[in-house]
Amino acid sequence: MGTPCFAPARGAVLAHREDIHLVIYHLLSLLAYAAAFWLYLHPEVAGIEGPWSRAAFVGAAAIMLGWISGIDVGVVFHNHTHKKIFRYEWLNRWFGRIWSVSGGWPSYYWWYAHVIVHHSNLLGPTDWTLPKRKPDGSSEGMYRYSLLHWPWRYVPHLWHDFRAGRGGPQVRRQALVELFYFLALWSIPFWIDPVMALGLWVLPQWIGNVLIVGPGMYAQHAGCVPRSEARPFSHSNTYVSGFFNLTMFNIGYHVEHHDYPQVHWSDLPRFHEEMKAHLIAKQAHVVPFGYYRASRLLSPKLTHDQEARARAEFMAQHPDYLLAQHPDYLDHAEEAAPAVLLPHGAAR
C-alpha cells in the first residue's frame, strides 16, 4: 500500500468526484478493444466471411478505436497528468500505466512530454511537442506535423532528453522502468494474434495519435505567439462549443488550462466565466466551434481563395468575445487575472 497523495476523506478513492467520468471513459475504451478483439477471433459471429469483410470490420473498428484512444490519451489521461485522480499514489501510477498503453504511450513519457516539455516551455524553443516554426515565424502545415510528430519526432527527442537528464537525475532510470512496464502491457495483443494486433492495436494507435491528437495539438496553439505583457493570453486558443467541451472534458478552455493547469477540468467552464472579462479585455482568441471544425479549417486547401476563407473563419473572434461589444471590460485590460478567481484555492 502506498501513501495517500492528499488527506483523504474516509473511504474515498477518487481525489475529485467528477473524475469518475475519466475512469468510466477509459474502462469503456478498454471494453471496446476487448469486443473488437473477440469479434476478430470469432468472425462467424459478426458475419465476417472473407478477407474483404474482415478488412471492412478492421477498418471500422480501427477508426473508432483510434478515435476514442486519441481522446483517451490526449484529453482523459491528460487530465490525470495535471491532477492525479486517485488519493493513493500506487493507484495513480498503476492506473496511469494501463491508461496510456492503449494510446501507444508509456504513461511517464506522455507526462514528461506534456508537463515538463510542453507546459514548462510553451511555444518556446525547447517545446518540441508543437509544430516547427519556419524562419518567417509561421508554423509548418497541419498534415506534416500530424504525420511526423508521433512517434518519429517524439522518440529521438525523448531519447535525447532522458539521456541528458532533462527534468532531473532520476528521469533516465524512471524512463527505463516505465518502458519495461509499457512493453510488457503493449505486447499482450501480439501474444494473442500478431495480425490482429497490427489491425486492432497498432493501427488504432496510429489513428489516435496522428489523426486525433496531432490535429488537436495543432489547433490548440495555431496562430499563437508566446505570452507577453501586452498579450498574456495569446499563447493558446479557447474553443467554447458546448458539444465539444461536454464530450472532450472541457479541453477547449485551453487559455485557462495553460495559465491555471491546477484548476480541475470540471471547474473550467465556471472558471472561464469568471475570467471572461479578462479574456475579452486582453483579446484572447475565442472561437465558437471545436477542434474538428478547426482541423478542417486549418487543413490545406486546393486554392488560395479557399485557404484565405478558411483562415479567416478560424481567426474570426467569437461574436460574444469582441471587445467592441464590451467597452466596459476595458477596465480589466490593465489588471492581471487575480488569484482570487481560482476555485477551491487552486494554485496557479
Binding site: 471496446a32 458475419g47 470490420f57 471500422a60 473498428a61 477508426i63 473508432m64
Partner: protein
C-alpha cells in the same frame, strides 16, 4: 420530486455526454453482430461527418 428530477436528468445527460465517444465506438463494434461489417464501416464514416456539424451547431 419536481426539483430532484431535473438534477438527475442533468447528471445522466452529463454522464452520457462524457462517455459519448466510447459508447458510440462500442455500438459500432458490437453492432457488427447485428448488421455486419460493411454497415459498421459506413456508420463510422457517417459519424465522422456528423461530429464536425454537431460541434458547430452546439
Amino acid at each position: 420530486m419536481s426539483t430532484r428530477a431535473p438534477g438527475i436528468a442533468h447528471k445522466v445527460a452529463i454522464a452520457l455526454g462524457r462517455s459519448f465517444f466510447p459508447l458510440v465506438a462500442l455500438a459500432v463494434i458490437v453492432g457488427t453482430v447485428v448488421w455486419g461489417p460493411w454497415v459498421s464501416l459506413g456508420l463510422t464514416l457517417v459519424f465522422w461527418f456528423i461530429i464536425d456539424r454537431l460541434e458547430c451547431r452546439y
